[in-house]
């Protein structure tokens, strides 16, 4: 498979990392902490094929969220900020990824799993316990675990979209 095609397929997988469709309701907010950095490990299954991803999710006291996703053995793929007012700022998107995909899918799951809002009934996202999360969709599943939690206030710059990191 040529490199360009590989990059595009990886891009597709990342999009689907957080997609939502099939109802698996959970009405209560799933957020597990504020003022913390969550280190996460995800296994994405799509069409029977599985991929591992690492996530670093910083949570502010006021509800801001900053997620950096990386490949298991590779570079940063996505950097996205969701401010406490709900506004979304895609800070970095890796090659072959589109910001709209991140906004539409990744951000939606960030909000459903860790945001300060009630999860909609239609959400396929649910928490199995405080550190174990699951997203089930007709086309894919995501099993996500928080493997380490670093408690403490996160730097204010993380939640400021004007502090751009390229």
């Amino acid at each position: 498979m040529c490199l360009k095609l590989q990059l595009r397929v990886v891009a597709l997988l990342i999009i689907l990392l957080s997609g939502c469709a099939t109802p698996t309701p959970r009405q209560t907010p799933l957020r597990v902490a504020t003022n913390a950095l969550l280190i996460q490990r995800g296994v994405l299954t799509i069409h029977g094929r599985q991929f591992t991803l690492n996530g670093y999710l910083a949570l502010s006291e006021s509800g801001g969220m900053r997620l950096v996703m990386t490949q298991a053995l590779g570079p940063r793929m996505v950097d996205v900020l969701v401010k406490n007012d709900g506004s979304v700022h895609v800070m970095y998107v890796g090659p072959s990824l589109r910001p709209i995909w991140i906004e539409r899918y990744v951000v939606r799951d960030m909000k459903h799993l860790f945001g300060n809002i009630a999860t909609p009934p239609s959400s396929p996202c649910r928490a199995l316990d405080d550190t174990h999360f699951e997203v089930k969709d007709r086309a894919y599943t995501l099993e996500l675990r928080t493997v380490e939690t670093k408690l403490g206030p996160q730097p204010a710059e993380l939640f400021d979209e004007t502090k751009v990191t390229k």
């Binding site: 950095l37 799509i46 599985q50 991929f51 670093y56 890796g94 990191t165």
Partner: protein, 228 residues
Amino acid sequence: MNQTLIVILILTLAEIATAQQALPPEKAKPILERLQLGMASLSSVYVEFNQERHLKLFTEPLKSRGVMLIEKPDRIRWETSAPYQSILLGDRKSVAQFESTDGKWKKLKLGFPQMLRRVMEQMSLMHQGKLDSLTADYAVSVVSTDDVKMIVLVPKNKEVRALLDAVEMRMDSEFLAVREIVMKEPGGDFTRLVMHNERRDVKFPAGTFDQNKPLELNAVKAALTHVP
């Protein structure tokens, strides 16, 4: 002079400084040949690593640790033991990955197995000093000063360079063993692998590289009497 020009100037000077440190090919060649010759007689390597993921966003590096096991001619096991548990196993023909869920290993049905096998193969080749096998994909140079001994691999493919600036293999003073591997990304993020407790020519027990039911790491360690 505006800030952009200052940054460009600094980057240019840094690039010139780095380029000046690289040995000319006629001096680099014998070092690479000696490394490859020195590693050629090895049958296996056991090495533990501490990995630091340096993301500019975060004040502290994100740390993990694990082991890498290599057995000639082509078997490799890369196991992360903390903060999550994952095993990658590869040889020339295939690759397998296991993730630990609630203390139980689960084999993944891998997507892009060829790509992962290629990454594993390159990691194995780097640690065996077989750099001539990597020249199709990387430009290889050698830096040797009183303080720094390293081999630098720069991807030749432009699309790969968009993800990976360079791989620096920090060597021991004799250029015979890899001490650190630094993978530099565009924008300043990097990953550092610090190798320690390296043991050479160990005899791995059966099952160490089994791609269906790999032997538990504790059992592997227990079988290697000279590995702490």
